[in-house]
Amino acid sequence: MTAALQGIRVLDLSRYVAGAYCAKLLAAFGAEVIKVEPPGTGDPARAVGPFLHNRPDPETSALFLYLNTGKQGLTLNLKHPQGRDILKALVRHTDVLVENFAPRVMPALGLDYATLRAINPRLIMVSISSFGQNGPYRDYKTNAMISYALGGYMYLNGHPQRPPLCGGGRQPAYQGGLHGYSGAAAALMAREQGGQGQHVDISIQECMASIHQFTINRYVYVGRIQKRLGNRYQRAHPITIYPCKDGLISLAVSTQEQYERLLALTSLTALLDDARFATPFACSEHAASFDERLAPWLQAHGKHDIVHRCQESRIPAAFVNDVVEVMDDPQYQFRGFWHDLDHPVAGRQTYAGFPFHMTATPPVLQRACLLGEHTHDILTARLGSTHDQLADWRAQGVI
């Protein structure tokens, strides 16, 4: 087994989620990733939590621990001229630089792509931001909810008579990170041919706008605006979450064949003679009435029974898991998705891994770096810095 990105050197200047996830993937495939954090506080993700036993500690934030696996820790004050000089010296021997500052920040620091490229023409720079590096909203501020809203996702979530719903977790930022990884990898491929680096500009708003199934196409093709439908999906029914005897299950009945098999399994085949329930598409327009008819069967059966009986009949049913239940899911356990990692401060904990098995270059998960853990080693090895220099920089707040 070899690492796909062995020998690739990465500087990760990112804060919080988007750039950090991109660089985490680079590290998983064997790139040597240096996480560059401001001295003292470090990446602000370290202050977010949740924390071990709810006690705030920059080394036990779940957000930081998860997003910075496999990286080496360097502290560097980019607001200090000496800090920027050190960064530029590191850039000389760097393949990929990842950053997700607001677009004004890197140019203001004198670290725009043109400047860095002049130092190292092979440098690939990945910039991930809320709205991209140009355009009228460039400097607008967002968080997860605002990105859901302006990406067109939020309008589709929720009950039609109630406010649209923000989605779960930090999906827009992760989208920026995933797209950023593809941009970095594509730029590495291009560099194999052309020899030069390039600038990758990822807008989180564009990422969200590019992952719609029907929203944009339906408006453009037929002029209809997709509305939110409550806890179900467009066009066909039942694609929804149902209560059952001992919890919740979900169904995603998407074809006539699956629909007829569901009605057969639940002894409701007579419904096919009623035009309202003849197809999953017709059913979609009478969903509440259909749900009343299906409810007695669901209430009479437990979730394991329902999911397995449906799947044996080739009906797409699934469990409705919370984040703890997913950790106990036998399928995830069979594939070894969860990894126990030791960390000097946070201890031994269970981490989500990567969603793919790869026969030649499998991704590897290693614990996150401590703040400044490798500052000494990196600067002496990469730049030949002396003990006195390091002491000097430390005294000046550079590292």
């Binding site: 997003l67 067109g152 708003q205 199934q213 453009v220 898991n321 984040v323």
Partner: protein, 419 residues
């Protein structure tokens, strides 16, 4: 100018959304993507106008003579690809596919795990054909394990993966995404894995098998939440549009029908900026709203005040005014507003693509922007089987007579077949 993946050939056996989304990105990056489909899997032979209206996927709800060439999802996902048809249950069809794989770099498929082995296309046999080949399989739950044969779609991978448990109105059930979100998530992870494998292949000549689980892909994007529960034992509750450490944080009605603005005040500084925008409103000065803990505690009153203010305003006016004051705010855009979004337009995000049977229409572009090898439109979406002659003739050297024979036998064609 060549794209980043110039010279990479991909055999695309994917269907629906997750797989086609992945191969579309590879095509946008300049790879030669050959979409191979069985005409038995294209769907119904005819579509009535009533069904067309319900589906809402044909221009002006008109299915036309060849509805399969006018479907918005197909045309959206096959841009930049070549399209050929092959019936894999015929010896000729299977043999032609194997010959294509022998001269390609990547095969991507999102069938259930039974299908590829059934056709003798499992990875060991593909590797025997072509040691450099990369096979990316992307079933719902992975190719091995107790749930490997579960039928799944993005819509119910969402609750299975834990994502739905994090969305919903407070105190109510988990809520599904309105957008089958796990599909593109799996597609994007597939792109990342394929590009990584390609880089390795270019340096070593070695291919490999990528076995991707759509469910795990979704759960991977919740990793900080699951780790958090291990650290402090708390499973986060559904909070609607609220935030545990920011207030006000919500979605407020504006002037007009079903028009909303999302507002997130993340700090005391942003709160002060927010109150300056709201100007003389007396409630802004109330001491209970002066601190984060006070605002979190009295969030319901805060929401009522903000809604009373916002509902008289234009949503875009609210967004621009707050943003200019330094407060995060965004219109909850619907399809029409998204397509007309001034910022997306200023960045030329949308691509206008002509299609011989659907016409000139607008589509989401490619968010991965590469400065010197840009992702771009190389060719419009193909009609079914449009490139049968070109691909089989030029790449495999089939003669006009051989192509005619294949067409007569139904191995290739440009119309769907009954299932």
């Amino acid at each position: 100018m060549n794209g980043a993946l110039h010279g990479v050939r991909v055999i695309d056996l994917t269907r629906v959304w997750a797989g086609p989304h992945a191969t579309r990105m590879l095509a946008d990056m300049g790879a030669e993507v050959i979409h191979v489909t069985s005409r038995k899997l294209v769907g119904p032979l005819t579509v009535t106008r009533e069904t067309a209206r319900i589906l809402g996927v044909y221009p002006d709800d008109e299915p036309g003579e060849r509805h399969w060439n006018r479907n918005s999802q197909t045309n959206d996902l096959t841009r930049n690809k070549y399209d050929i048809t092959l019936e894999l249950d015929t010896p000729e069809g299977l043999s032609l596919l194997r010959r294509l794989i022998a001269i390609s770099d990547v095969v991507v498929e999102n069938y259930s795990p039974r299908v590829m082995p059934k056709f003798g296309l499992d990875y060991p046999r593909l590797q025997a054909l072509n040691p450099r080949i990369i096979l990316c399989s992307m079933p719902g739950y992975g190719s091995q394990g107790p749930h490997r044969s579960f039928i799944s779609y993005g819509t119910n991978v969402d609750p299975a993966a834990g994502l739905a448990s994090l969305m919903g109105y407070p105190g109510e059930a988990p809520h599904m995404s309105g957008n089958a979100y796990p599909d593109p998530v799996a597609g994007l992870f597939a792109v990342g894995a394929v590009l990584t494998a390609l880089y390795h292949q270019r340096r070593t000549g070695q291919g490999q098998h990528i076995d991707l689980s759509q469910a795990e892909a979704t759960t991977a994007l919740l990793g900080e939440v699951s780790l958090g529960t291990r650290l402090n034992g708390v499973v986060p509750p559904r909070m609607g549009n609220r935030h545990p450490r920011q207030a006000p944080h919500g979605c407020y009605p504006c002037r007009g029908d079903d028009t909303w603005v999302a507002i997130a005040v993340r700090s005391d500084d942003e709160w002060h900026a927010f109150t300056r925008v709201l100007g003389p409103a007396a409630w802004c000065a109330e001491a209970r709203f002066a601190t984060l803990s006070g605002r979190l505690q009295h969030h319901d009153e805060l929401d009522r005040h903000i809604a009373d203010w916002a509902v008289k305003q234009d949503a875009y006016h609210v967004m621009h005014t707050l943003q200019n004051a330094g407060v995060p705010a965004g219109v909850v855009v619907n399809a029409e507003e998204l397509v007309n979004d001034p910022h997306l337009r200023a960045r030329h995000f949308f691509w206008d693509i002509d299609h011989p049977e659907a016409g000139m229409l607008r589509y989401a572009g490619q968010p991965v922007r590469l400065s010197s090898t840009p992702t771009r439109l190389y060719r419009s979406a193909p009609c079914l089987g449009q490139h049968n002659d070109q691909v089989l003739g030029e790449l495999l050297g089939l003669s006009a007579d051989e192509l005619a024979t294949l067409r007569e036998k139904g191995v290739i064609g440009d119309h769907p077949l009954p299932r």
